[in-house]
Amino acid sequence: MVTVLYFARLREVLGQGSEQVALPASVRDLEGLRAMLVARGGAWQQELAPTRPVRAAVNQAMAMGDVPISDGDEVAFFPPVTGG
């Protein structure tokens, strides 16, 4: 299982701030997890589509594409940041 966190607009639109996701053997990296979530359809497909400006972090470090993930990791998806 990995912990998947959603922040800001994504948290609101997807209706949850965090969930536990079981990783099938075929999902080994960030891109794979994102594709798996997109395959849920609906808001997931719309919000996490590759064309959307979604940022991600693995274990609290900014991450992209083929960064590997495995059981126990904390993965987060969020919009581009707007602090300061």
Binding site: A8, Q60, F78, P79, P80, V81, T82, G83, G84
Partner: protein, 152 residues
Amino acid sequence: MTVRVQSEDFDVSTEIAALRRGNPKIGAVASFIGVVRDVNEGDAVAEMTLEHYPGMTEKAIEEIIGQARGRWSLYEALVIHRVGKLRPTDQIVLVVVTSAHRGDAFAACEFIMDYLKTRAPFWKKERAGGGARWVEARETDDIAAERWRLKG
């Protein structure tokens, strides 16, 4: 280096005094304060809510300060960023840097702020006019951060 993410306001004089205390080698203190404006994208802003990613936000800012330390000669660096509900004229963020000379202090302070805007996980939601909306990231902030990379 000190990083604080908090809902409470901060007092600049108190923070600077604490940062300078006991170091007579400091010759320059540069600070930046970000403040909530009452207008954005042409709409009157009544209130905003700042959300962050507890844990990662602090780490991201510490990393930015670490990079600044690698580029300039600094004594101390402090970043305070507020979260929760804020109103126009409220202080949002404070960056203070101390060094021997002003060049390093000015540059590091601006660098930390430019990187924070594009790399530290905070999100603003504004209440303006009839409804609430998430603030969109600005391309000008990316350009401001990119500038430092080009400077090498």
